[in-house]
Symmetry: C2
Subunit: 412 residues, 2 copies
């Protein structure tokens, strides 16, 4: 085997998750112990840190603080939403990346992110190959959206799903407390795929979840929605609704982009979220108590409700990326394959070409969604339930989370 000695860069990109740092730790820990990778560099704000020569020397961090990354949400190295140009059109960035790679003798590049990040990975890989610079580029997946192609599920999804299901169970109890009825509409992230909103169905499995779930996989129809809510309310005297932020009409227009104009006393225009838009629609139609709740950023950084399975799999993805790269693999994303071991859910890693992953979105199969588009069936529950299992032993200080504190020493 061709042992490729040199430094590695690990970068994080896109929206954070509760466990993206568990993957980063998988990369950093495995690389530091590899005996092959000579130096582990953390890019500040993803690929921007490479372009700006802002690279942290991860070898100078306290090992115990690094270990705490497993339980620290958000992107510890900083993130970005920077899209590289097509190198055939403009190779300025790529020349700069090559320069930095040469400066630090970088032979491994690990990029931790979603669809766009795999596109970044893929372009860097192709460019390095085109100029003959020996380097192994690996994608480490993450996204709460769970919409990456070629993998059974994505690191980060399960912890967000667990946060959503737990929050629904709690809000269900809260919103059923009075003898006067109430409609509660909860808005969940997911622009194009409904995996997150569907996770609310896990709460329904345990008797305290939404009555209705609307996903971007089907077209939304406002009069039907109003009827659905009225129907549930007439029967139960209450109605709890889960909506994906990405629900859209048949013509593709997002429901959240209803034309709204609103000014406060200062003459400032205002924009409400989808939950408040739908809450107002119901209020006008039904004359009942209605509340719109947006789970907002909380759902993607709620590490205190992380799934142990998700944490360990995320770590495993980072570790596998380093091990495979050292073994000579290049241009692949680590993916998950679901199996059964001793009659129980098991998960192992596999490799997917970056080319195939970049910019493709995986949605919930239509057959997992009920016919009238107001819920998911047992196939989804069987898919999602194993992923949220396990309670991590969260490090705490004075009963508050003890997150990793990195020194972030810049490399020279």
């Amino acid at each position: 085997m061709n042992v490729l000695k040199g430094a590695c860069i690990i970068g994080q990109s896109g929206g954070p998750t509760s466990v993206i740092n568990a993957s980063a730790y998988g990369v950093i820990d495995t690389a530091l112990k590899s005996g092959v990778i000579t130096r582990v560099l953390g890019a500040e704000h993803g690929i921007k840190g490479v372009l700006n020569d802002r690279l942290f020397d991860m070898g100078q961090e306290d090992p115990e603080e690094l270990r705490l990354l497993k339980y620290t949400p958000s992107s510890a190295l900083g993130s970005c939403r920077y899209k590289l140009a097509d190198p055939a059109v403009d190779d300025t960035d790529f020349k700069r990346i090559l320069e930095i790679f040469k400066k630090y003798d970088v032979r491994y590049f690990f990029y931790n992110g979603g669809n766009d990040s795999m596109d970044t990975c893929n372009k860097i890989n192709q460019y390095m190959q085109s100029v003959g610079y020996e380097c192994r580029v690996m994608g480490v997946p993450k996204t709460i959206d769970n919409d990456l192609y070629g993998t059974d599920h994505c690191p980060g999804y399960a912890s967000a799903a667990k946060y959503i299901a737990t929050s629904f169970m709690e809000v269900y109890l809260d919103s059923h407390v009075y003898d006067t009825g109430m409609v509660v509409i909860m808005e969940i992230m997911g622009r194009h795929a409904g995996w997150l909103a569907a996770a609310s169905a896990l709460a329904s499995e345990y008797g305290a979840g939404p009555d209705l779930i609307y996903l971007p996989e089907t077209d939304f129809d406002m009069p039907k929605f109003i009827n659905d809510v009225k129907g549930v309310y007439a029967k139960k005297g209450n109605c709890l609704v889960a909506v994906s932020e990405g629900i859209h009409y048949a013509d593709g227009g997002f429901v959240s982009e209803a034309k709204v104009e609103k000014t406060d006393g200062f003459g400032h225009a205002q924009m409400g979220g989808l939950a408040s838009i739908l809450a107002e629609v119901i209020k006008e139609e039904m004359d009942v108590k209605v509340r719109g709740i947006e789970l907002n950023l909380l759902q993607r950084c709620g590490a205190h409700l992380a799934s142990e399975t998700d944490i360990e799999e995320s770590f495993m993805a980072g570790k596998a990326a380093v091990e495979n790269a050292i073994a000579g693999i290049n241009g692949r994303m680590i993916a998950f394959e679901r199996g059964i071991q001793n009659g129980r859910y098991a998960c192992k890693t596999k490799l997917v070409p970056l080319m195939e992953v970049a910019n493709v979105e995986k949605k919930i199969p239509r057959s997992w969604i009920n016919e009238d588009g107001t819920g998911v069936n047992h196939q989804f529950i069987e898919y999602a339930l194993p992923l949220i299992q396990g309670e991590p032993d969260l490090p705490k200080q004075d009963s508050l989370p003890r997150f990793a504190k990195l020194k972030k020493v810049l490399s020279k």
Copy 2:
């Protein structure tokens, strides 16, 4: 001692908390084991359940399910917001309550709630005394708002405070992930007192909390607010703000009640929350990325982040109510007195006359708030930190909360 044999009623009222059921369990468990109280009746939807003769026989519940009440948020018996009339003006309700008390030989009435509930307790107690019906009426406090008079703190506050502090720490990390700055404004419950919003300062103690906190204890000034945010942003490139829903201008007008008009595509009027109002103000003023987040119901039902201290103290309050009533005490609310035991925080119960508690609100001392009204000082931290300590061993099923399931058998 005059041993008063007879049935008891336990009712829950007002907005739910994460631990109100721990208090109810304290009452139920102690009463069932008392040997004096002959029957334990749970009122459906508080005092309404008494008026409507909807009383559950708690003795018929599975003891293990009752125990799970310690970890089950919201009001398991159902709540109400029903204000009894002044008996001097209209005694209809009181006559009915007396009728029900006589029907079931009720000699003990325990009411679990906030300010208004203590008013209900007080009126019932006075009425029963005026008609010479022997009965002991005790208030068991609860409120996330922490605004009850005569007690060091209120059951329910600490768990909400812990939820708020933890969520701020997580959102802090999430909102500092990009190199492009961001202003995040988080809206917290508390109409007249800022105890909950102030709890976000606990997150700042651990390096990941709000830069600015606005409370109802001081007057809000919009131009100053804009300047405060601009100042922090100029220095840090980011700004995290905590606002209490009850912030108001010097003339008393709520900031959340800015005149707003907004219509969606369907012509429905809309109302945004305070967080989105302030987010829009900042967006207009600063041209930066701004996000408004409303913690909404989640903060008062987030039992998965409950404080063990809060759970145990809530249970203790319920237990003390029963023990004191059996010992002959009447017309009192259980309150907490803070002390030091072996150099550590300790808490014991004391008794406060219902008369003194009803309809009074306790606010944060002005001396605990910094001079320009943008944060709290160490006196608040020392007050709040001991309250949130301890992680309960939460019952789970398939990694989701296992809440109590009551049979709710109606008494005849």
